[in-house]
Amino acid sequence: MLFNSLDFLVFFPVVVCIYFATPHRFRWVLLLAASYYFYMSWKAEYGLLLLLTTFIDYYAAILIGRSTTKVKRFQYLALSLGSNLGLLFVFKYFNFFNDSVRATFNYFNVFYGVPAFQVLLPVGISFYTFQSMSYTIDVYRGQIRPEKHFGIFALYVSFFPQLVAGPIERSGHLLPQFYQRYHFDYDRVVSGLKLMAWGFFKKLVIADRVAVAVNNVYNNPTDHTGIPLLMASYLFAFQIYCDFSGYSDIAVGSARVMGFDLMQNFRQPYFSKSIGEFWTRWHISLSTWFRDYLYTPLLQSNWLFKRHWYYNLLVVFLVSGFWHGANWTFVIWGALHGFYLVFSIWTVRLRASASDLFQLSRFPRLHEAMKMVVTFHLVTFAWIFFRANSVSDAFYIVSHLFVGLEPRLGFGVDLGLFEFLIAGLAILCMELVQLKQTQTSVGQFIARQPFWIRWATYYALLFVILLFGKFDTREFIYFQF
């Protein structure tokens, strides 16, 4: 069930109404049933995989908690990690590796008879397996105690607002919340609904609108050179941000309506002044997951590369790229970001010297703006690889970005003038709101306004979504991960 569908518009209010009418001790049952219904509405069989992960990790954590020796504890942790990563490998990466091996064998004219695995990628598998693994790892580290209540743990893994595309929650943050008693709170509910509306605005008015132009170019890149490739790349930067952060806003907002606090997943990432800062603002739940469960252990245990922290950074970003998809384009995207980060750390002093030379410290705002522009362009360049359908497409786009820059009607992206204006105004509006958000919470700012301004804002947002939203139910980009 997509958030941007009529089914969800009926499902969510019904679940919320029943939730608040249900006694606290039974609410986990309702939420668990609703979460499985939500997930199985895609494909009923997916529910079995979710249940399998839940069972294995529940019992693995219990056994880790009961074990007295480190070896035993590690074995159960390995069981959990092995099963989760095994599921990911089978459903997401098997065909990629299989095809790569086949290509290698074919190159040497050797027969390779292993067939492809014909199965649909279960929606959200990368998200819920990572969330579940973080739980068993935290139990192993002694940071939390194993959850004894199977139903509550199952709810932690399957909680519908964040099940299919995050934020990837931590057990220490989310699990205790299922034990808390939440009463109907007007301000919290309204705050949640406002956040959901903002998420729908980003998804339906901006992301799905510019997707048309991006797809026109990126699905047939060799038909274009110069400005269309440039424009489509810039538009994709906004498409992926609005699509993913829009989903996160809807997820966080819908959880907030019911009283749950999910972690913030985006924090105005395109205002970042460095790649390092970008990764503290973009998909925060994933980047912190990799920091805590991959980078830090590598740093602590990797005696060979301990001095060479940059190897660990590159490994983390390569894995991160690979997490996004079974395609070399994602690996290159991850590698690019790893390279950006390593290079930026290596060149800190050089860049400081350069800014002293040009006396940029005398113009702090200009300096900050320059850093933001450079960071944005570095990120947008990397997005080319993220979005391209193949490595060859990506290299074609990169090599033809500045070929033939003569002006074209509509920038050559087949998006009509009216659509372009709507997209441009919506993006401008979004950026202004985000600029304000860096100074103060926009939601609270609106809440402090007189009644007529608040309601005018709510009506304006609602009707902009209704009038200008694209309602042909496009999936969210991150569902494919």
Binding site: F184, Y186, F418, E419, I422, L466, L467, K470
Partner: protein, 341 residues
Amino acid sequence: MKKFLLKTVIFLLGRVILSHGLAAIADRLSPNHNTMALWNDQKHMREMLSRSSEIEALAIGNSHMGCLQFERLGYRGHRFARSAGDLFEIRYHLEQLIPRMKAVQTVFFSISYGSFHEDNAASDEVNIRRADVYTSLPSWQFIDGDFGNFVRGKTRLLIPFTSLLRKDNWQGVFYALLGKTGKTEQFVEIAQDDCSYMETEEWIDHAKTNRVAKLVRLQKQMLASRPDLVNNTYNTLVSTIRFLRQRGIRTVFFTPPYPKMYTDCFRSCLPETLATMKSRMRRLQQTENIEYYDLSQDDEFVTERRLFKDSDHLNGCGARIFSMRFKRLIAETEPTMSVHK
């Protein structure tokens, strides 16, 4: 909680009022196809119900029903040609209307090439037409399995969402506000004296890219959603025939004439669809003894492009000639089965 519920009700009321206001503006400046199709349905419904005691013959069906002119046929009748109407909707209309129209003695049905492969509720692209049925017909019953569309259809009486949720995202309205004539949606019932026709190239293009290509696409969606579609439409038609027979109403089926070019195009793109229509109609003749006239390849029409307003619909002149011809045919035939080629 009470404060929240009260504010929600007030907010929604305000939304309904604003929605109606905006919809009225949009419909006045630049009505879209969906809205015009609904207005057409509502207009016909009002006329039929206001003349319910006079109407002797009904022609309810898809857009091809526009080829019948009751003045030529010599009936006091009403023609309700619904754009993209499917057999499920026809049956529903008859079940709801016949009890209210006691004078009806004859019902005319048009069976197109794709009639057995159409179910508007099975395609997201056109299920608004199913919702339109429930918006325009004053009844609280609905077709089996159609509750969602029923709710949508009735909700439209409260909130005119098709006028608000426009495919062009209000581009037409803004252009109209600026005094520009943008791309306008066309939905016009054919006037009896409208003998306009398309030029050859436009005609061919209309057949291939507009009509047949769209039918191919829709059929794929519908069959994916309803694998047993053909059997279901057939069974629906059988039950409709029996419903009308029980009330002593003569049921006359016909397939209207199509230009040869359209038939050739259809046969090459959807050969099974055409074959299915033919075989199912033959089966109906054998099992249900129906009165059926297949005029799809009639020599008087197949090569006369000027009798068609587009690739497959007769224009006013074509409808006049067809109606006079049809009158002679049905007068010659006893009200039992008959097939004419």
